[in-house]
Amino acid sequence: MITTKVNLKTKDLKSEVKPIWCPGCGDYGVLNSVFRTIIDLKLDPSHVAVVSGIGCSGRFPAFVNAYGFHGVHGRALPLATGVKLANPDLTVFVVGGDGDAFSIGAGHLPHAARRNVDLTYVVMDNSIYGLTKGQPSPTSPVDVAVDSMQRHKGRRKGMAGMLRLAQADKPVNPIALALGYDASFVARGFSGQPRVLNEILKTAVLHSGFSFVQVISPCTTFYNTYDLWRETAEPLPEEHDASDRAAAFQLALEPGRRYTGIFYRHERPSFEDQVARLVAEPTDAAAPAAISGLLEQFRR
């Protein structure tokens, strides 16, 4: 983690590109929290990389004055793993939506988690596909059709059919999932509670290893759950021991409870460190001596 002595302000971190998000979108809150995290931890923006997939949330990197990689849909995690491994000095944020993370990208999450790459993965979960205009996502509750019919503005006939069909799919539980994967840091925040979210993100960045942070980031246009979360979100019970994975799992399953906070954390060596142990000091590009040594093995 490379830090700076400069006192950064939010305006230093805002890029020229104006967010395309709808007014009130939860993603603004997440963007601000990431700014706050960089400022508070005094991260040097030249050593920050923000990697994303596709979605409203995936547009994120362009809005930050740092290095960014806007990946294709669902591939943010392997992309970011490559970035981090090739340049371990960078602090790498991975950001994206619930569709990006749990649907098309679902095959990468268990592997980033088990490898324990030192990434901070911020899943901006709005329980809907925002960018493609309102289809159900893997975290859409089964009553999403009813719910979002009542709430969202952009109602379209076809989508109603989509949403109705979604009733056949039980939603995934991102926290339970991440615990199943043995992610070494598992937390939930809510973009409507910036203070809590800032704390979580800071801890996540400082955690050496893979941090999974589900951030409830409501979609004001297609599925506005601000009120629901404002009314029902509650901190994890104080007595919860965040090193107890099974207890965390139990809390994740508790019906009707909407906890925020750190469910689980457990330090173990990061992938980069493990790989570094297995790898020699980098040699310069040509490394003729080493290569010619290798060639010797093939001499007839």
Partner: protein
């Protein structure tokens, strides 16, 4: 005596993969160490373990370029091997067999029974059977015992306790043939006189991996797939000690995107796969093209479609390499044409990727990747490496940096994360010079042209690199054009055809995007028929030629003769000879006769 005194093709067949392969691998190394050149071929059994296996070694005084047409010697370790392959042994060829298990009839061949089983029982060391046979082969072919002992010691030396028994097995095999057959040895191949030239002996996958290392590759991510796995395993073994990183990813999509992330962060990065994996990489390949990330992707082609025949060879991913992608995502495509060439094309691939900041696809194939060849020594000092263009660091110019600057060549300076003040987002949406999403018609036009301009720039460069080979009679009216690993068979066929007075000239390109247009056009001049040998059904390269040089081809009345082969096996020289003779007959009004073996 062999119909060709300069080389011998020896086929070994038997149950149980490992045994046959050990015999072959040890024997070819003995031959190589003795100053001969080698070129191998092997098959893979249907069963995971066990099953019938063929290991074929062609050894020669000069460089061996293909598997040849027929076999000069058959080594049968069981009856099945005899039954399966005796038909391909040339008349009067050499039959070597384990007299304990094989009982051949009198079939007109020269028989060399070796009591392999018996000898190993005498030594009470059944694991030594393979070495008894190697000893016999060494003896029968007049190779020096010391070389054989060296190879056995270096390859099997780690089982130290067993070494004496292994060497004893070897000796007993050798002694047996010396005692019994000294007066009727099969055709011998004396190593050429003079000093033995330096040679390396390796597979195409190893050569490609070594090329990558020499090119400065410091990141490899891949997913196992036959026949590309060897490349990954080589990297896993040898890249970490150089300070590079290797990740076995969860799938091919992760493999290519992880390599892209590493490249974005400054490393020279690659992945390797085979057709099914390459198919999964198509979306990301376009992303690399769009974001202008240097990247090398090796596709070791196998026969398909779909899962197809993983252990068989083909040259049928050409269209996928050239064209796959949504919309137009420029990439460069190279194709090495020999094991040696795998090394050098990987250097080119990394250099081109860096120079033009785009994906470079390298098309190898199963046969080339897995076979062992002796290749000339590599002079590392002659290798020049290229690094990507980077911007001048300019901290105060915050916000002024234009990652996708519209330059004349299309290449724009690429900042590496960590450089102060050069923030940008590598953007998969259409974007402005600064990388901000931009869908205006003007910008899409300009950026489309920029991306293609880099291929044009590479086209200029490529004419000056050794990316093509032209040989034969420049006055010939019959031409052969091709790409990839069929070149060796063509080279060999050309020598024979020239001996039969038919004039023929050949052109092989190692760069498929861009094509070396000027060189091709100059080759086409004066030709009346062009034979295009390809390991695919529809003639993909022929298609490329017909489209790209349609004017030259049709105006000059050049006949393009597809020579397709789609049976999972490489070309033999005879396939090419036949096609040339057929063309000659047609062109010359029957002056030439149908080709017969031996010509």
């Amino acid at each position: 005596m062999s119909s060709n005194h300069d080389s011998l093709a020896i086929r070994m067949g038997g149950e149980s993969g490992e045994g046959i392969v050990t015999i072959g691998e040890v024997f070819v190394r003995v031959a190589a160490r003795s100053g001969l050149e080698v070129f191998t071929f092997r098959t893979y059994p249907a069963e995971i373990m066990g099953g019938h296996v063929v290991y074929q070694a062609r050894i020669g005084r000069d460089r061996v370029l293909s598997d040849g047409d027929e076999i000069d010697a058959l080594v049968a370790l069981n009856e099945e091997a005899y039954e399966k392959h005796i038909g391909e042994l040339r008349p009067g060829g050499t039959l070597i067999y384990d007299s304990g298990t094989v009982h051949p009839p009198d079939d007109g061949h020269d028989h060399y029974p070796v009591p392999v089983t018996e000898i190993s029982q005498q030594l009470d060391f059944s694991r030594g059977k393979n070495l008894v046979m190697v000893g016999a082969l060494v003896g029968l072919h007049g190779l020096p015992m010391e070389r054989a002992a060296e190879v056995v010691t270096s390859r099997l030396g780690k089982y130290e306790a067993l070494l004496p028994k292994n060497l004893e097995s070897l000796t007993r095999g050798l002694n047996h043939v010396r005692e019994h057959f000294i007066d009727r040895l099969p055709p011998q191949l004396d190593p050429p006189p003079g000093e033995t030239p330096e040679r390396l002996i390796m597979t195409g996958n190893q050569a490609a991996a070594l090329g990558a290392l020499a090119a400065g590759c410091r990141f490899y991510s891949g997913y196992p797939i036959t026949p590309a796995t060897g490349l990954m395993e080589f990297m896993a073994q040898n890249l970490p000690p150089l300070g590079g990183k290797v990740v076995q990813t969860e799938d091919e999509i992760a493999a290519i995107t992880m390599a892209m992330g590493a490249s974005f962060a400054g490393a020279k990065a690659m992945t390797a796969t085979s057709g099914p994996g390459f198919a999964l990489m198509v979306e990301a390949l376009g992303h690399a093209s769009m974001t202008e990330v240097p990247l090398v992707v090796v596709d070791v082609q196998r026969a398909g479609p779909s899962t197809g025949m993983p252990t068989k060879t083909a040259q049928a991913d050409l269209f996928m390499a050239l064209y796959a992608g949504n919309d137009e995502a420029p990439r460069l495509v190279l194709a090495p044409d020999s094991v040696e060439d795998c090394f050098y094309r990987m250097i080119d691939a990394f250099n081109l990727a860096e120079a033009y900041q785009m994906p470079v696809v390298v098309l190898s194939d199963q046969a080339m990747s897995a076979r062992v060849e002796t290749i000339p020594d590599i002079d590392l000092s002659s290798i020049k490496l290229v690094d990507r263009l980077k911007p001048e660091p300019n901290e105060s110019d915050n916000g002024g940096y234009r990652r996708y600057e519209l330059t004349e060549s299309g290449v724009s300076p690429m900042a590496i994360p960590g450089m102060p003040g050069m923030f940008y987002t590598a953007e998969g949406l259409e974007h402005s010079e600064k990388g901000a999403p931009d869908y205006t018609p003007e910008m899409h036009r300009a950026m489309t042209e920029k991306r293609h301009r880099k291929v044009d720039a590479a086209r200029q460069l490529i004419q000056r690199l050794p990316v093509s080979d032209r040989w034969g009679d420049p006055k010939a009216e019959i031409g052969i054009m091709g790409w990839g690993s069929s070149k060796g068979a063509v080279r060999e066929a050309m020598e024979r055809v020239e001996a039969s007075k038919i004039r023929v000239e050949a052109f092989y390109t190692r760069s498929l995007i861009p094509m070396p247009d000027e060189l091709v056009r100059s080759f086409l001049k004066g030709k009346r028929a062009i034979i295009v040998p390809e390991l695919n059904y529809r003639g993909m390269f022929a298609n490329v030629l017909e489209h790209r040089y349609s004017r030259e081809i049709v105006h000059n009345g050049i006949r393009i003769i597809h020579l397709p082969k789609y049976d999972g096996l490489p070309f033999r020289p005879v396939d090419i000879c036949r096609a040339v003779h057929r063309a000659a007959i047609e062109l010359m009004d029957g002056v030439f006769k149908e080709w017969e073996p031996g010509c």
